[in-house]
Amino acid sequence: MPNLQLLNPKTHGQLRLRSTAEAAPHFLQVLAPEFQVAATCCPILFTKDPETGSFYAGAMFGFKPGENLLGSPEDRGGFHPLMLQREGFFMSERNIAIDRDHARFSEHEGEPLFNEAHEPGNSLRAIQRTLGEIHHGLERNKSFIAELTAHKLIEPIEISLKFENGERLTLQGLYTVSLDRLRDVDDAAALQLFRAGHLQLAYTMAASLKHIPRLAQLREQQQATRGQSRQA
């Protein structure tokens, strides 16, 4: 359970932000403003929120929980997901809340959140910007997904992978944009999708699927390296 506290300089004046080695999960929510840069390094897919059944978009860094094939920012070609940047911070109405128990927070090391005047320091200002971008991005995702759903443009995609060591992985519960159906939308809908910026997001998602075989290859290489080090 997170230990949520509303952030304020009186209580948290001594708090510092450590640079933790961010361990991204294998699938992380990604927002419309990030699609372009995310698509340079990894597949972007839809999946369903298990609580509500509604779609959300995510960047795939690995094929199963606990696996991250793009562990470092370099592996991700500079893609620094908003959802990782905001770790430990939450929006509560117009205020910022923190999970005081999160490993990012320390009273001894890292950059202070507040300056001596109890004003937000550089690190906190960056977080404020991030949370603003997330708020805006979530709205864009929502309207993007609503419009794709209305035009029935989301379709399931089954990904089956076979590795040299005989392991087989079948990924289920993933969805993408149907290019066939997209080609069939009428002119008015196409124009609307284009003007809203949704057409570009849709094609970006579709193009990002090329990264699936690349990730599989990365996985193969990483396993081979591990295998060699075990032998040695």
Binding site: K48, P50, T52, G53, S54, T149, K152, I154, P156, Y175
Partner: protein, 514 residues
């Protein structure tokens, strides 16, 4: 010159009328308009009967085919999931006597008949639990899917319980707004016949004369067109199925959090049985009984006993339900669907599935012209006759397997002259070999598959002789299937939400279409 069939007139605005209208209009969507029309004539003064709150999984594909949203269906029809039926006190009448007839097929059913393997083991596990997870899911009050499962898709096979009155209104809205069905509120005062005997038109005071090429009689027990007008006789089958009365009552839940049963509960009584169907806001409960065996007063007493304190002072509605069906269903240019075609006690929820199958047949084989209509009608009659016969056999099966002798009703059910010859032959056969694919049920769109017979037979303690030596070839596969079932059962029990919880989420968030 040929006389094309272009204008379909359906009389009656209950479940049968609107489902038939929806299925025909959806199938012929591309040509709906001036050249082809579906009109539904509904009396503003006749209340719909609204029986049949239980359905078969076929309704999922029917609803998907006519293009409704399953989310909207749940929001507007007071719908709940149904994963089968739990039969209590049918075999011995004791308090612990029950079995399930689930909707999932036995494990590996297409490859392997598990019955003899299960029989040979005699390990005390019920047939249902040995071969299928669904009885356990019902015991646990779990839903057959999750909020992340797409509309009309299942994790465990399912159908619905629904409020028939709301369902008819829901279908009406969809048929009229999306499928172009013309809705005419008018009383049929006179049915006008052509010289050859075909129905020419209907005279109504509100909408004048309504002409058509094909008329579908969905007027319920009244059977205005097929019975009153065309004189097709009603063939009773009360000599096989004795129940002819029903007492129905709506029972509120103790609280908004009371679990909703995910199966029809059918509890045998002294001269009939009580249905118990869980909808989100209430239970629908009713006593179906034989008036030759008990009085209405006694039947009501048994119903009140069943309900206990929850049923005190609740009003009970009495229905007369003659068991039987028309001798023919399609005569000249008129075809009967729903109660106008016939009625059987709702023991296996056969009413709505028969409507769906009939509507599908009419829509798919709609005669192009009057000249070929009699040929299609003959096919329709043969198929429908066969279906009613099999349903009667299957319902009777529930009665002939009883070991109860505590009342005349149960004893009379075992009299050979009340058991159809075909069923007697099958029982003889099944005492030596269990029902499966190669058996009997070879028709396309059989109402009850061989699996249903297996669940009822072996749920009620019927025994088929087993030759252990004959099983050894398949022993490994059977072993694997039974093990797979145990694994699947635990996986589903761990992953499926509570029934009421899922309905709440569907109403709140909706389901995705993919």
């Amino acid at each position: 010159m040929v006389k094309p069939v272009r204008h379909i007139v359906i009389v009656g605005g209950g479940t049968a009328g609107w489902l038939t209208a929806g299925v025909i209009a959806a199938k012929h969507r591309a040509r709906m308009g001036a050249e082809f029309s579906v009109t539904l004539v509904e009396s503003p003064n006749t209340p719909i009967i609204g029986v049949g709150e239980g359905t078969w999984p076929t309704l999922r594909s029917t609803l998907a085919r006519i293009g409704v949203s399953e989310t909207e269906f749940f929001r507007k029809c007071e719908a709940a999931f149904k994963q089968g039926a739990r039969f209590a006190r049918w075999t011995t009448g004791e308090a612990d006597d029950f079995y399930y007839h689930p909707l999932m097929l036995p494990q590996s059913f297409a490859q392997l008949n598990l019955v003899p393997h299960w029989l040979a083991r005699e390990d005390g596990r019920s047939f249902c639990d040995a071969v299928c997870p669904q009885g356990r899911l019902c015991d646990d009050g779990l839903a057959p899917k999750t909020i992340a499962t797409a509309e009309f898709e299942a994790v465990a096979n399912y159908s619905y319980h629904l409020d028939a009155g709301k369902f008819a209104a829901f279908l009406q809205e969809h048929c009229c707004e999306k499928l172009g069905v013309r809705h005419v509120l008018a009383d049929v005062q006179r049915v006008n016949l052509a010289p050859g005997g075909d129905i020419l038109s209907l005279s109504t005071p509100q909408a004048g004369e309504i002409a058509g090429d094909l008329f579908v009689d969905c007027t319920g027990f009244k059977a205005l067109l097929i019975g009153e007008t065309l004189g097709v006789p009603f063939k009773e089958c009360g000599d096989v199925l004795f129940c002819d009365r029903a007492l129905a009552v709506q029972v509120p839940y103790a609280s908004e959090a009371t679990p909703i049963a995910c199966q029809t509960i059918s509890t045998a009584q002294s001269a009939g049985w009580i249905w118990d169907i869980g909808l989100p806001a209430r239970r629908g409960v009713g006593h179906v009984y034989s008036s030759r065996h008990i009085s209405d007063q006694q039947a009501e007493r048994e119903l009140r006993d069943y309900l206990g304190a929850a049923g005190r002072d609740l009003p009970v509605r009495k229905l007369v339900i003659p068991a039987g069906h028309r001798e023919t269903f399609w005569k000249r240019n008129c075809v009967a669907v729903g109660l106008a075609a016939g009625f059987l006690e709702p023991l296996e929820a056969s009413a709505i599935v028969l409507i769906e199958l009939s509507a599908k047949f009419i829509a798919e084989q709609l005669p192009v012209c009057r000249e070929v209509m009699d040929l299609i009608a003959a096919r329709f009659n043969a198929t429908t006759q066969y279906r009613w016969g099999r349903i009667i056999d299957f319902l009777k099966l529930h009665y002939v397997l009883t070991k109860r002798t505590d009342s005349a009703f149960w004893r009379d059910n075992l009299l050979p002259e009340t058991i159809p010859d075909r069923l007697q032959d099958l029982l003889l056969l099944w005492s030596h070999q269990s029902p499966w694919f190669h058996d009997e049920f070879d028709r396309v769109e059989e109402v009850f598959p061989a699996a249903s017979y297996q669940y009822v037979l072996y749920g009620m303690g019927f025994r088929t002789q087993v030759e252990p030596a004959a099983l050894s070839g398949d022993a490994k596969n059977a072993e694997r299937a039974l093990r797979e079932n145990a694994i699947q059962t635990e996986r589903l029990r761990a992953g499926l939400p509570r029934h009421r919880e899922l309905i709440r989420k569907i109403v709140e968030h909706g389901m995705q279409t993919v």
